[in-house]
């Protein structure tokens, strides 16, 4: 047999294409030539090695196809689906927020309008009586009449306990005017607790207006109910009107 014939025989053996006759021939040749065994082993390694290499190339192609036909489709759908879902959720949330703002806004606006309609700064009677008053008080009321509520507040606020309910009330009005709401409420409460027959009603009235302005409607209404229940109280009629409007 020549080289080419042996080569073909080996390849046919490696590829399982030998006939039984050819198989016998190969067995015979193996006995005669020990090198042939190594040749066959190496040929098999080459054949399978080439197969393995090209299978890897095919696998790389299949990976590309997988990414294009399977992976790239699914995530897009998922991403778009999720995006639409989130846009929907955010839109609803925004709508709800705007609606709430609108409702609160209109309610707050209403309360502010009522406050503006009914609020008139307290007019102290102390200077009208022409009495001699201490310098700091005089200065306090000077500032108050000039509507310099901050300056007036600064003079008295820390030592308001030492003064009359009228001065405390006037100080509370200063606090209200400069948006020191907590301080104002505290001073109003101080007066209310004294149960002063005159100034307690004023304190309730201004406290109710302040609470209305900061949208604490229910608490404002409670105070107005007290004022409107007794016709002898100051601000009785205004309290009644305002209550009806609320």
């Amino acid at each position: 047999m020549n080289k080419e014939q042996i080569d073909k025989l080996i390849d046919d053996y490696v590829n399982n294409r030998l006939s039984s006759k050819e198989k016998s021939l190969l067995d015979k040749l193996l006995l005669e030539s020990p090198d042939l065994k190594q040749e066959i082993i190496m040929r098999k390694d080459i054949s399978k090695g080439v197969e393995y290499y090209n299978n890897q190339e095919l696998k790389a192609l299949l990976n590309t196809i997988h990414n294009e036909e399977v992976e790239n489709l699914k995530p897009k759908k998922t991403i778009w689906g999720r995006a639409i879902l989130w846009i929907g959720i955010l839109s609803l949330a925004l709508l709800a927020y705007l609606l709430m703002q609108s409702i609160e806004g209109s309610s707050h606006e209403e309360n502010s309008n009522l406050y503006a309609a009914y609020y008139v700064p307290y007019n102290p009677s102390i200077q009208n009586r022409g009495e001699e008053i201490p310098n700091d008080l005089s200065l306090f009321y000077d500032y108050y009449y000039k509507k310099d509520y901050q300056a007036a507040f600064n003079i008295i606020s820390e030592k308001s306990d030492a003064y009359s309910n009228e001065t405390i009330l006037t100080t509370a009005i200063c606090a209200l005017e400069i948006n020191q709401n907590e301080k104002a409420i505290s001073l109003f409460d101080q007066i209310i607790l004294t149960d002063d027959p005159y100034f307690s009603d004023h304190a309730r009235w201004y406290k109710a207006l302040l609470l209305l302005n900061i949208s604490q409607k229910n608490e404002a209404k409670n105070l107005l109910k007290v004022l409107s229940s007794d016709p002898k109280t100051d601000h009785h009629q205004e309290a009644k009107e305002l209550l009806e409007k609320l």
Binding site: D45, G49, E51, L61
Partner: protein, 195 residues
């Protein structure tokens, strides 16, 4: 694309035709394999690897002149996937009694195996293949992988005769053998190995 076309395209088609055919196989048959794997202790990565191995094994089978499809292509592919997945699960020691029960509706076709196992020597040869040069890689691919005849290779690559192809192939084999023999471990073990 008919099943006959799939078989013919993979067996004899050019690169473009083969790729087109592989895409068709993917589009129409991947989902079922993925579903089977995911329902039986597998992950998407497992499904991808399994399906690709099945396609590669099927591709290799089409190169055998004696190979014919005796059932539907989809059945054949799925049977291969099922058999291979059972093999994988056994190797992972996952209880498979219930899995086997769920496969009762599928024809077992247990003799359909992937045959994608390669020795370390063969994998090493694959890594050394590039050293033989582009021409040899192409020629050896056409002969050992595509299983084309000398006549067909001569026609495809413009060789003037089968003899020239044969001679060229022998030169490539000789070149690869010398590359292999440079590896001491391979050389040492060669004498100890049996056919």
């Amino acid at each position: 694309m008919s099943e006959t076309e799939i078989l013919q395209n993979l067996k004899n088609g050019d690169n473009t035709t083969q790729e087109r055919t592989l895409r068709v196989i993917y589009k129409h048959h991947y989902a079922k394999t993925e579903s089977m794997v995911l329902s039986n202790s597998g992950t998407k990565e497992d499904a991808k690897d399994l399906f690709q191995d099945v396609v590669i094994a099927f591709y290799n089978k089409t190169k055998n002149p004696q190979f014919t499809l005796t059932c539907k292509f989809s059945t054949f592919i799925f049977a291969m996937a099922r058999n291979q997945w059972l093999k994988v699960l056994r190797s992972r020691k996952v209880p498979i009694l219930e899995i086997e029960n769920t496969f009762k509706q599928i024809p077992s076709m247990e003799n359909i195996q992937l045959n994608l196992e390669y020795s370390e020597n063969q994998k090493m040869l694959a890594s050394l293949l590039k050293e033989s040069g582009e021409k040899c890689m192409d020629l050896l691919k056409l002969f050992y992988y595509e299983k084309f005849s000398m006549k067909k290779i001569a026609l495809l690559r413009g060789y003037s005769s089968e003899q020239i192809v044969r001679t060229q192939k022998l030169r490539c084999i000789k070149k690869l053998k010398s590359i292999l023999m440079q590896n001491e471990q391979y050389r040492t073990n060669l004498s100890l190995r049996e056919i």
